[in-house]
């Protein structure tokens, strides 16, 4: 008897949880968190460098390379998932954001290298702040909560 009421309560709970969470879940929470953290570290370090009037050291550029590699892994995982599952709610918007995510690190490094010095670091700080936003938009478009 208690079992029935317990089951009823559990079902009620799971139902309410299910209605709170989106229909489509985001399949790569860990990888996107890693990318966000790397991007924010780059943003913070480069912002400090820009304030201190310093150019970007090679270590930071290498970190941008790691960031790009992580985004590439995410992109491949997305394309594979897209082939098997239903994919994003708005495919064209999604592709646009994905391409922007992939293009941002190399484009910003190129633009920053044009002016080595504090402002080059400033450009990379902008890139580091931008990527988490783009990633969040990717997530929203995939789950259909855009």
């Amino acid at each position: 008897m208690t079992g029935v009421s317990l089951l009823g309560t559990t079902r009620g709970l799971t139902d309410s949880v299910a209605s709170l969470t989106p229909v489509v879940s985001w399949p790569w929470p860990l990888l996107s968190m890693v990318i966000t953290v790397i991007a924010l570290v780059i943003a913070a370090v480069c912002a400090v460098l820009a304030v201190m009037k310093k150019s970007t050291p090679m270590v930071v550029l290498a970190l941008v390379g790691i960031l790009e590699a992580a985004i590439a892994v995410l992109a491949i995982a997305m394309v594979l998932e897209w082939g098997s599952a239903q994919g994003p709610a708005e495919p064209f918007v999604y592709l646009g954001y994905l391409l922007m995510c992939l293009a941002t690190p190399p484009a910003m490094v190129w633009w920053a290298r044009g002016e080595p010095g504090r402002w080059g670091s400033g450009v990379l700080a902008v890139a580091g702040l931008m990527l988490p936003v783009l990633l969040l938009r990717l997530q929203q478009v995939w789950t259909g909560r855009a």
Binding site: V93, M100, W111, G114, W119, G120, G122, A127, V133
Partner: protein, 160 residues
């Protein structure tokens, strides 16, 4: 240019090297400004493109405004990269339009949310983008003003 180089040694101070000292809109802080404007130009253009093609009938005014904002961002970015005297004027006019746009659309989106269903960059003063759309034109105008002042003083010393 071989011709000026031949005569160059005879002329005391040709204005050529001075031109490189004149601050460009894609140098210094302008480097960062162009980067931010380029991001907005690309993001706004692709977003407006998709909106106009796939769901234009849903919210015509909002999507036309989105497209207008995208054009404004593209023009400002291109003008800042070019950086000639004319381009600076174009950039200034573009940024003033951007500022008016973000203020008017921002205000209207609070007054009548039905007209702007949060679908433009400028809705709620760019709240959805961390208020960067509101800060950007202010920073842009400040930078252009400073850069123009530096440019005219550099031009004056080049004449001297």
């Amino acid at each position: 240019m071989p011709e000026p180089a031949d005569v160059g040694s005879a002329i005391p101070s040709p204005p050529e090297p001075e031109i490189h000292q004149i601050p460009s809109t894609r140098r210094g802080a302008g480097r960062v400004l162009v980067a931010v404007y380029a991001v907005f130009a690309i993001a706004a253009t692709s977003r407006a493109g998709v909106q106009l093609v796939t769901k234009f009938s849903d919210a015509r005014l909002a999507y036309v405004l989105s497209a207008f904002a995208a054009v404004v961002y593209v023009v400002i970015t291109a003008a800042l990269i070019k950086g000639t005297a004319t381009a600076r004027r174009v950039a200034t006019i573009g940024i003033v339009i951007e500022l008016i746009g973000v203020l008017v659309v921002g205000a209207f989106s609070y007054v009548d949310s039905a007209v702007f269903p949060r679908a433009t960059v400028w809705s709620h003063f760019g709240e959805g983008y961390g208020f960067v759309p509101l800060l950007l034109p202010i920073l842009g105008l400040w930078f252009l003003r400073r850069s123009n002042a530096a440019r005219s003083s550099a031009a004056r010393s080049a004449v001297r």
